[in-house]
């Protein structure tokens, strides 16, 4: 039995209500326990900051579009290379690294669970194959339903139960975790060379609106009692004036769940834009956060932009085409049959560019103006806003007004007329950062009950020990020490084993893929629904019996079965 005793840990565990207490943590058999025997390995944490393992609730690390990002960007593959060392494989890439590159770098930063933000169901096998080679984190995949023909037909018939049945069947078939809507309706419209510009626009040939899709999917998700809520990338991403669409979307959301939010809106930075064109482009973070502050049923994540090179990738095909027309660089576009699509382009966010400077400020404003840190989580929509290796800098910016001012002085001078960031005094504390990087994610994803995001006895022993003594660092002034501290853990412990020691990964982690299987009665089993089966066989290029992802694609896995109303 593998036992560890961590002594003198300075623990912040928001879910258990522990804030900066010096204590010992006992680990046995992958779980946190009350006490261990005398034979346990002892780690002296020396009073270092000890948090539950980091969780990224929206990142793009595995799957077809990530891989195409690698394929079309040899310059990115050349940007960061490490040779094989000890138990670590060689890695390459910066914004879209190899799976090992992602896994080792996340692990070095203390992350132990990742949610792939968008998996096209038809291409799920690729995502699961890459999950198997992302060894040091538990993985989950949100499944794209934004342009699903069967769902849109159910929405048109106003048949929420049928929509829920389709979601349930698909999630179990592709071993997915939650429901993702990317530009609902818009990606399907893009298949016809069109888009939707508000939540009341009609999707061509389906006669449904994005608002109807969102509303039905929220109700279907609650009907299936999924651990995570609907996870939405709103319509009109990246367009001036899109904050109205975002607010309209938030106004749709009823409060249906006592344990978590009812809607998770991702990378809201890209959806908080004012103005009518790029010339009067400005921040509407105040309006967005006012709405979020009034609505406990909504959780957002930042989608922070950081200056430098990266690769943007999303299922939002029309948006990527608009970006391509701005940059005229490389562009990839992809259609996924009856389900969704995607687009990829490389970008460079520049300090001297006014629009990019405003985008940078908006992400920070969202985090600082959202009163409750449980409602605004730290992400960059990796790699769309910036690669995840920039998270420590974002923590520094949130904790230090001085750092924000220093950075603000280097960006486009007109930015100050378009944003409210310079007037925001708030500096987040250690506890709030712990919420925004792990506890909030665990609650929002609904994985607290399976032992994530907390350090109380019974929880999974996913622990990150950072070389930071919170009593001795003033984050407001010494932001550089904060950034250094969060860049690399002393120890990252995953399922009770030390997986990373000062950036050196020590074991083949063998991750757990967490997936969801709603229990659905035979009456609602879509595999036996004649109309569904007939359409499937008629329009898909694969046979229905070949569609579900076989069990052998999952290595270690945890299936969450939910009790549904169907």
């Amino acid at each position: 039995m593998n036992e560890i005793l961590i002594k003198n840990a300075c623990v912040i565990d928001p879910i258990s209500g522990i804030n900066g207490e010096i204590m010992d943590i006992a680990v046995s058999d992958g779980r946190i326990v009350e006490e261990v025997g005398s034979g346990a390995e002892v780690i002296d944490a020396e009073g270092f900051l000890t948090l539950p393992g980091g969780i990224d609730s929206h990142t793009h690390i595995c799957g077809t579009k990530v891989n195409f990002g690698r394929y079309m960007s040899p310059e990115d593959m050349r940007a960061g290379r490490t040779p094989r060392r000890g138990r670590m494989h060689s890695t390459s890439g910066y914004s879209v690294p190899t799976t090992y590159g992602n896994s080792y770098r996340y692990s070095g930063m203390g992350y132990t669970a990742l949610l792939e933000g968008a998996m096209a169901p038809l291409e799920a096998r690729h995502t699961h194959e890459e999950f198997a080679y992302t060894p040091l984190q538990d993985t989950m995949a949100n499944v794209l339903f934004d342009g699903n023909w069967a769902i849109m037909e159910a929405v048109r018939e106003k048949d929420t139960k049928r929509a829920a049945a389709i979601v349930g069947w698909t999630l179990a078939a592709v071993k997915g975790f939650g429901v993702k809507l990317t530009n609902p309706g818009g990606t399907e419209a893009w298949g016809w060379g069109k888009n939707v510009s508000s939540i009341t626009d009609v999707v061509p040939y389906f006669e449904v609106t994005p608002g109807e899709i969102i509303d039905t999917m929220i109700r279907a998700t609650e009907m299936l009692a999924l651990p995570h809520s609907v996870h939405i990338h709103c319509n009109n991403l990246g367009l001036p004036g899109n904050y109205r669409t975002t607010l309209d979307t938030f106004d749709l959301v009823p409060d249906l769940n006592r344990k978590r939010q009812t809607l998770y809106a991702t990378h809201v930075q890209f959806h908080a834009y004012g103005g009518t064109s790029w010339s009067d482009f400005c921040s509407k973070a105040e309006e967005i956060t006012r709405s979020v502050n009034e609505k406990p049923q909504i959780v957002i994540d930042m989608g922070q932009v950081m200056f430098g090179k990266t690769t943007t990738m999303t299922a939002d095909g029309p948006m990527e085409f608009n970006l391509y027309r701005l940059h005229h660089n490389k562009w990839s576009n992809h259609d996924v049959e009856l389900e969704t699509g995607s687009g990829i382009i490389p970008v460079l966010y520049r300090r001297k560019n006014l629009v990019n400077s405003i985008m940078w400020a908006i992400g920070l404003e969202l985090a600082l103006l959202t009163k409750n840190p449980w409602q605004c989580l730290l992400t960059t929509d990796n790699p769309n806003g910036a690669p995840f290796v920039r998270y420590p800098e974002i923590i520094g910016l949130l904790m230090s007004r001085k750092y924000r001012e220093a950075e603000f002085a280097t960006i486009h001078p007109d930015t100050e007329h378009r944003v409210s960031l310079p007037s925001i005094e708030r500096e987040l504390d250690w506890q709030e950062i712990a919420v925004m990087t792990r506890a909030g994610q665990a609650r929002a994803l609904g994985i607290v009950d399976i032992g994530k995001g907390r350090l109380a006895p019974g929880a999974e022993a996913d622990i990150a020990i950072y070389p930071l003594k919170i009593g001795e660092v003033d984050p407001g002034r010494e932001y550089e020490r904060v950034i250094e501290g969060f860049r690399q853990t002393e120890y990252t412990i995953k399922r009770g084993r030390i997986v990373s020691r000062r950036g050196e990964c020590l074991v083949w982690g063998n991750n757990t893929t967490i997936w969801v299987k709603p229990k659905i009665s035979e009456r609602y089993d879509m595999a036996q629904d004649p109309a569904f089966v007939e359409k499937f066989d008629r329009y898909y290029t694969v046979r229905m019996r070949n569609y579900p992802v076989q069990e052998e694609y999952l290595k270690r896995n945890l299936c969450i079965e939910t009790e549904t109303e169907l």
Binding site: Y71, M72, S73, P74, E75, N329, K330
Partner: protein, 255 residues
Amino acid sequence: MRVTLQVKPRKKPFLPIEAETIVPAHFLDGTDLVVWKGNRELPLSDVFSVTVEGTAETADEVEITMRGDTSRIKRVGEYMEAGRIVIEDDIGMHCGNFMSGGTIEIGGNADGWLAREMRGGSIICRGNAGNYCASGYRGEKRGMTGGTVEVFGNVGDFAAETLAGGCVVIHGSAGDMAGTEMRGGTLRIEGDCTRVCGNMTAGTCYVFGTVHDMLPTFRRRGTAVHDGVTLTAFTGDIANRGKGNLFVRDYKYMD
């Protein structure tokens, strides 16, 4: 200084050897170099009989001669800046990657990716060259940016793809899609080719043979005489708002 590398008999001659260390400048410090076979590092002398005559102060004075079955020796001359490499027979893939100066002469055929992303210097290949001759890497926007490549035989598909500078001369025929995504430089094909210069934005391409499956997105703007031959002049690729120059002696559109 003359360095001769004679390939020793190999049990499995099909296994490729990665030899990016074979660059003239490296021999100024002796012959204690390594090459890779799969994931195994081998001393240069395990694969070659190495003989050195004379001395050299600079890489310019180094001439490397490679003899024997070099058809599976890859990446020879990668990042080469000066000096001369003479390959008597065939050479493996990626010869002259990123080369910026000096000369490579190949007596036989070259495998794929000859002179990929070349920046300067010159490469002469007396036989045929494989696919992606003088091209960029897959996904890269700019390929070869300078120098000259001359192939006396035929080349495979995607020759001079994303060519951005320098000069590529092919005395034989080219395969499919030569000069695709060209954005600069000069491509000269003495023989035939198919679907040439798709999505080209700038640069100049001459074809002295026949272009099969000529792309309809090039606008004809008259004739021009080049090297005493009357050629039809085109501008394109207009599908990409391109302003490239394409001159062809004969062309056939797809039926």
